[in-house]
């Protein structure tokens, strides 16, 4: 089917050997929520704890040196993975923190300016200014901007969707105008699967002097992403969706933008000097990494990057495309089942949401769960997108490198089984 060997990959993931719901083999199709972890990631984390654990950047003894080296070499790997330099990569706890970090730059700058501090005017918001997102954002790239607007009086605007689940770009020239201070857009929708033309949108943002932010949670794990091609000022994503540990996220930022943003979390290790009455701050990325960092998780994520690089992100993307094409066909072939999101595999990821006539998505998910198939049900933290498509919720499959066509066949059979059970077979 594609350049990667799923059977061999599966052997690297211990959890895939377990059974669920009375001895059903696990079919894990919820990687859009979080991916599973290969041995190499678990081993790297554990080895760090067993040999070099210490507070990175905080000591001069040998363990502290080793921990610092482990932490920074993980940063370098991750930077290389997206075509950036290590100084451009900030470690956070998850993509949600990364996006909040971006959003707080605006509310913090605005508050500091209100007390007379001099801030970069790009971050200072006032009534009349606008923040532009899309109607397919994950809550993590919507609610923080709502809060920024509530704190500054700026207005939230959004790019609407077409009926086939794409961005309606027609109104963009009016939406992104001189009042726009920031444009923040999801790269690949976690609910619709849509891959958005982010480079084009970033260009439009820059043309009006706005800061451009991309939510790469669902793109970075699934395709080659190069920050230089996207052109975003800031790119946020999570480690746990790309084979890495829980508890670590990433924010890429251009040197220029990271320098001009005020700090977010403040405290130890992000300072240059501290007196009782005032402090000065370190250069990025340290400026944004207050407190003892998630060193072990960074090391684990470094191993995850190695794993993906070793497979080849181009190969991962081809596998993704093959899975997408196969799944789209398998699901559209089923009577009484409707996909919410694009029906063609072009510019589309493998996360596929659907609804089954007469059965609530929860109940569909339950039937699949009983067959050992783990999918996600609900609004997928994209509630406004559900509203846009007039569904209360969806059932979503989101495969990854350890899934193959048989897993999709199992889903299709499960849907039929659900229709039979709930007596809605069309």
């Amino acid at each position: 089917m594609s350049g990667i060997d799923v059977a061999r990959i599966r052997a690297d993931f211990p959890i895939l050997k377990r059974t669920v719901r009375e001895n059903k083999p696990l079919v894990y199709l919820d990687s859009g929520a979080t991916s599973q972890k290969p041995f190499s990631v678990l081993d790297a984390e554990r080895e760090f704890y067993e040999t070099s654990n210490a507070a990175a950047h905080r000591g001069a003894h040998q363990l502290a040196e080793e921990a610092t080296e482990a932490y920074e070499s993980a940063r370098a790997k991750i930077a290389r993975f997206v075509g950036a330099s290590p100084e451009n990569i900030v470690f956070t706890k998850n993509a949600t923190e990364s996006l909040n970090l971006a959003a707080y730059a605006f509310s913090n700058a605005t508050a500091l300016a209100s007390q007379g501090a001099s801030v970069d005017p790009r971050f200072e918001l006032k009534p009349g200014d606008s923040v532009v997102v899309t109607e397919m954002e994950h809550h993590a790239n919507l609610v923080p901007w709502q809060e920024v607007c509530a704190k500054t009086g700026a207005t939230l605007k959004w790019i609407p969707l077409t009926d086939d689940g794409r961005l309606d770009m027609s109104g963009l020239p009016d939406l992104i105008d001189s009042a726009t201070k920031v444009v923040s857009v999801v790269h690949q929708s976690n609910i619709l699967g849509t891959i958005n033309p982010v480079a084009e949108i970033m260009d439009m943002a820059h043309a009006v002097g706005a800061v451009g932010v991309v939510d790469g949670c669902q793109s970075v794990p699934h395709m080659p992403v190069d920050v230089r091609e996207i052109g975003a000022d800031l790119l946020a994503w999570s480690g746990h969706k790309m084979l890495g540990p829980t508890g670590i996220g990433l924010l890429y930022g251009t040197a220029e933008i990271l320098d001009s943003m005020p700090p977010f979390l403040t405290g130890g290790s992000m300072i240059s000097t501290v007196e009782m009455e005032r402090s000065t701050y370190a250069a990025a990325p340290a400026k944004f990494e207050a407190g003892v960092p998630m060193v072990a998780q960074a090391v684990g994520l470094g191993a995850a990057v190695d794993y993906l690089v070793n497979l080849g992100m181009q190969e991962v993307a081809e596998h993704e495309l093959a899975m997408t094409e196969y799944s789209l066909k398998a699901i559209t072939d089923l009577p009484g089942v409707r996909i919410i999101g694009p029906l063609d595999a072009r510019n589309r990821g493998s996360a596929i949401s659907f609804v089954v006539d007469g059965i609530h998505p929860h109940d569909v998910g339950q039937v699949l769960d009983n067959l050992g198939i783990a999918v996600r049900v609900g609004h997928h933290c994209a509630w406004p997108t559900c509203r846009r498509f007039a569904v209360p919720a969806t059932t979503r499959i989101s495969p990854y490198i350890y899934n193959d066509f048989r897993d999709i066949d199992a889903v299709a059979e499960g849907i039929v089984e659900a229709q039979r059970f709930f007596k809605v077979a069309p």
Binding site: P361, H362, D363, Q366, V367, N370, V377, G378, W383, A393
Partner: protein
Amino acid sequence: MSLESLYQDIIIDHYKNPRGRGLLQSPLGTAFHVNPTCGDEVNVQVATDAQGGLQIGYEGTGCSISQASASVLYELVQGLPASDAEKIRQAFVELMHSQGHAEPDEEVLGDGVAFVGVAKYPARIKCALLPWMAFQDAEIQGGLMPIADTIQG
């Protein structure tokens, strides 16, 4: 765990044929609850009839469990004095926290006993409880909650 033990026929029946669904003319209390994990919604209203019996109105969207539970709620407490309804509510909450080990009393819970299998699915317990939590809130709002038990469940 068979699907049948979770989705007993009674549940499917209430889901497909909800009893007494609809809103009240003049509710004393109304509570709209959502399950933020999945978006299930239910709106429960309470009032009293001339004899002091409870009048229940409800509407909602969601999975079979949450919607059937609302229908069973209606069936069980409609017309009852609030204190009797409260005993049923508590029995239902207890059943949901039994992890499937309870032997529910059909005398008290009527069709509610069909939810015994739900208690084995932690993620679905919230679905089953949704209308009952809203009911409790609506009663508190309407001043109909028997005093001693306002914090239970």
